[in-house]
Amino acid sequence: MRNSIYLIRKDFFLVRKFLLLLIPYYIIIGFTNVDAYSVFALLPAMLILLNACAMDVLDNNQRFQISLPVPRHQLVLAKYLSLIPYAIISLICTLLLYLSGVLSGQISEPVAWRELLLTIATFPVLAAFYLPLYFWLGQKGMQIVNFAFIMLIMLNITATSHLAKRFPALLDWIHPQTSSHILLWAIGGVAYIFLLYCSYLISLRIFVKKDI
């Protein structure tokens, strides 16, 4: 666990300049689409992950990681654990955006927690598809995969708003006053964890036997 923390810390060293770019990102969003603030919680987290992964394969840097006194499975685990702080950063930034919307009078609604958390929860799902590709391809082909995932996120953002217009029931479902179906949430939760675990196992299987 200690090594995972050091590896996540290393990733933050690598993306620290990129994190500064989030400030103008959220300012622009604040001016243009503050009413749809929750859907913009996904992109920063995914971009931080893409950036951290890209930095790791850039200049033989996976060899550096392998040279450290850390087993390979911990290198994989740390990448999955790093999703937590990235998601938290996105959540905090989105809440700050909401707060500024409230203070400036542009938002009068209470925080759409369910919508916001569902958007944040989409991040690990996307990462569950992205990380096995990252461990498999390494430097080769990652630019194409990164581009494809950014497009996917952009599509996800527009698709969510289109879906909400086409299926008003979806809006009802994510509305805070709608009663929760515990069984539905439980099945969804188990499927979610299962997906992440399968992704981790696939990444592990790829990376543990890979020549770097």
Partner: protein
């Protein structure tokens, strides 16, 4: 005498190259030079020892432990200097050090500071802005700052100026004063090893040629220089490799006693340097290929 690295029947196939059945032991408490021409398989072998590349066959043991089962504990005791930069180019020297230090259980900040001053490493300079020599110095400072029992260095002297090159060799000699420390040092510049190595492992074209004490090589090999009239078909067979010119020949014999007996009155017999042993072995293997 215990072995700090044991390689048993290592084989690995690449598209255009193959390491074949390498079995070798690296002795604890000594400097072992890994020599061979470019493309002989030195870096591949080191990458296998470091767990970066997996062998198709064979087993690797470090400090008597399987290198896959005890990766973390083993690497905690290894200082690794790569032939190419493996650090994050966009980070500064100080940031990179701060990333690395917490991973090692025996990291000593005072020792790092000592080497940083000795090598004049600029703390706030980005890795990408360092010269190749400076990058090697940084790798070396890192490798020496966590009390590594085994230093594995892949072509560490390439790109170094002659002054630091000598300083590095002295540094390695100092490091080895503690009899528990060992060094595996790959190079194709054999002059470095003539100065400091105790053992020489020679690989050529993916095969182990020999693993010998450096002193015993001078007892085993003989360099013969003479006129071409001395070379007939039977005599040629004694030579590992021969270089012929218009006026004469130079050749390496693997059985010194026999060579001296035959050539002492008719040719010049000399003790070959490591470079000559390497040159004639490679030349001989090309001729027989």
């Amino acid at each position: 005498m215990s072995e700090v690295i044991q390689l048993e029947g290592l084989s690995k196939s690449y598209d255009r190259f193959e390491l074949r059945d390498i079995t070798v032991g690296i002795k604890e408490g000594y400097i072992t030079g890994l020599i061979g021409p470019n493309g002989a398989g030195k870096t591949s072998l080191i990458q296998m020892i470091m767990g970066m590349v997996y062998p198709d066959q064979g087993e690797i043991q470090l400090f008597g432990q399987n290198h896959l089962l005890h990766q973390a504990a083993i690497k905690d005791r290894i200082g690794y200097v790569s032939d190419e930069n493996i650090y994050y180019e966009r980070l500064t020297v100080n940031q990179m050090k701060r990333i690395i230090a917490p991973f090692y259980s025996r990291w000593n900040e005072d020792i790092y500071q000592k080497y940083q001053e000795r090598f004049k490493l600029p703390q706030d300079k980005k890795i990408k802005d360092l010269s190749k020599g400076m990058k090697i110095k940084f790798s070396l400072a890192i490798a020496l700052s966590h009390d590594a029992d085994l230093l594995i260095m892949d072509e560490p002297t390439s790109g170094l100026d002659p002054i630091f090159r000598r300083e590095l060799l002295e540094l390695l000699s100092e490091h080895i004063q503690d009899e528990k420390k060992s060094i595996l040092f790959s190079t194709h510049n054999t002059m470095d090893l003539d100065r400091i190595a105790d053992y020489i492992v020679f690989i050529n074209d993916g095969r182990l040629v020999f693993n010998e004490m450096k002193e015993s090589l001078t007892e085993k090999y003989l360099l013969v220089k003479g006129g071409r009239e001395l070379l007939d078909r039977d005599v040629r067979r004694w030579f590992i490799g021969i270089r012929e010119t218009a006026v004469g020949f130079e050749g390496l014999i693997g059985n010194r006693a026999e060579g001296e007996r035959y050539f002492k009155d008719t040719a010049i017999c000399e003790i070959p340097t490591l470079e000559e042993i390497m040159y004639f072995t490679v030349k001989g293997s090309e001729a027989h290929a």
